[in-house]
């Protein structure tokens, strides 16, 4: 990247998260100042939030809250320990909800194909399943591409979520949800 072309915001935010070893950053006082400003901003948010917490939760209140928790624990009947459904089953950290979308998208395509052939057999060929924007099929890439790409793809994904995909949603709702409020591993 040349010195003339400054870092975009996405890159700048990425540098906030990682060690700043960016060649452009190393030689550009302007972007160094932008990064410093971003850091100051996050610090301000944190101290503002800390301040708002401290105003409400004084030491007296924190102690009172703690005593209440301990009293509640004390009041629990012994031997009434519960297990979460699926306890002991290692939790797969990948996004199981996403494949449901892919399944729904595939199902939507199949339904769309079937309906399209049935209702439009004598008309010129239309794009299949017009309600499904093309980014649906790009979803898996969200987890494989760089941070900058993620941002754009997430935007696209969100527009899909808020868009007219009633059929997909309906199929999605019918798909069993295996880890809603998952409290297992």
């Amino acid at each position: 990247m040349s010195i003339e072309r400054h870092l975009n915001d996405t890159r700048l935010y990425a540098l906030l998260e990682t060690a700043p070893a960016d060649p452009h950053l190393a030689s550009c006082p302007h972007c160094q100042a932008r990064l410093a400003e971003l850091r100051t901003f996050t610090e301000e948010i944190r101290s503002g939030a800390d301040g708002s917490f401290a105003q409400v939760f004084t030491e007296t209140r924190i102690d009172a809250s703690k005593r209440r928790i301990l009293a509640a624990i004390e009041a629990q009947p012994a031997g009434q320990l519960l297990r979460f459904p699926g306890a002991g089953t290692p939790r797969v950290p990948s996004l199981r909800a996403r494949p449901r979308w892919m399944v729904a998208a595939a199902a939507g395509l199949i339904v769309g194909l079937a309906l399209g052939r049935w209702t439009q057999s004598d008309r010129p060929v239309q794009p299949l399943a017009r309600g499904i924007p093309p980014h649906v099929t790009a979803q898996p890439a969200v987890y494989a591409v760089s941070v900058a790409g993620d941002d754009e793809l997430l935007t696209a994904l969100e527009s899909v979520h808020s868009g007219p995909v009633g059929m997909l949603r309906a199929i999605h709702e019918l798909t069993p949800l295996s880890e809603q409020h998952d409290t297992t591993w």
Binding site: T10, Y13, E17, R39, F41, T42, E44, I45, R46, S47, G48, A49, D50, G51, S52, F53, Q55, V56, F57, T58, E59, T60, R61, A64, S65, K66, R67, R68, I69, L70, A71, A72, I73, E74, A75, Q76, A78, G79, Q80, L81, L82, R83, F84, A87, G88, P90, P93, S94, L95, V142, Y143, V147, D150, D151, L154, E179, H181, D182, T183, W185
Partner: protein
């Protein structure tokens, strides 16, 4: 970045690779689990206070940043502790206890957000059902001017945080206000690290838009 320079030190350990020592809370949780398994319920209850000591303040902070209401936050923290106590047999010692606890806490906050009017699910002992907060000693209060000034900015910041979409707020609170690693945040919220980062960037961008003049 000195993220927690003037805040309480983070108790939670990052998601530890195999071979690194477990966090203090994980050690205590494992002890409690073993006590319960051997039928030593009273001992387990007593030991649980150590876990509350380690995580209580942090739980209150997270819950407060999510819920912006002291009573709701205190109840959410209490819910989370009771849940982990009752479900301790489900705790897997191969993972940091803090991640499991955070996940339960955050889910509880989400539920609470969805139905603010819901009453405390777990009963408070009758003897402790008195006024929610004890009276404050007058000496601990900041001066009216200082309170007004910081309150105004803190209010703006809290208002901006409240405007974030739920997922962005969850990620932002855990990463920047609670000081956890992206790996920890991802595991607690069931997201990949890349997705955590995307939510962080979006949250930051939005907060800047809302707060910068």
């Amino acid at each position: 970045m000195p993220r927690r320079s003037h805040a309480p030190a983070p108790i939670a350990a990052p998601v530890t690779p195999e071979g690194t020592p477990p966090s203090p809370a994980s050690v205590v949780a494992s002890e409690i689990k073993a006590m319960l398994a051997s039928g030593a319920r009273d001992e387990a209850r007593e030991r649980f206070s150590a876990l509350v000591d380690l995580l209580h303040r942090r739980a209150l902070r997270i819950a407060y940043y999510y819920l912006r209401d002291a009573d709701d936050a205190a109840e959410a923290a209490q819910d989370a502790f009771l849940k982990v106590f009752l479900h301790m047999p489900a705790y897997s010692e191969t993972r940091p206890f803090e991640v499991w606890f955070t996940k339960i806490l955050v889910n509880g906050c989400l539920d609470r957000q969805k139905s603010r009017s819901r009453r405390l699910k777990w009963t408070i002992p009758a003897g402790d059902a008195s006024p929610v907060w004890p009276p404050e000693p007058a000496s601990t209060a900041p001066s009216p001017e200082a309170r007004l000034l910081s309150k105004a900015r803190a209010g703006e910041i809290a208002g901006a945080l409240a405007e974030l979409p739920a997922r962005q707020r969850q990620v932002f609170v855990l990463r920047y206000l609670d000081g956890q690693s992206p790996a920890f945040v991802g595991e607690a919220l069931g997201l990949t690290e890349a997705t955590v980062r995307v939510h962080l960037f979006r949250a930051l961008r939005r907060l800047r838009g809302l707060l910068e003049r």
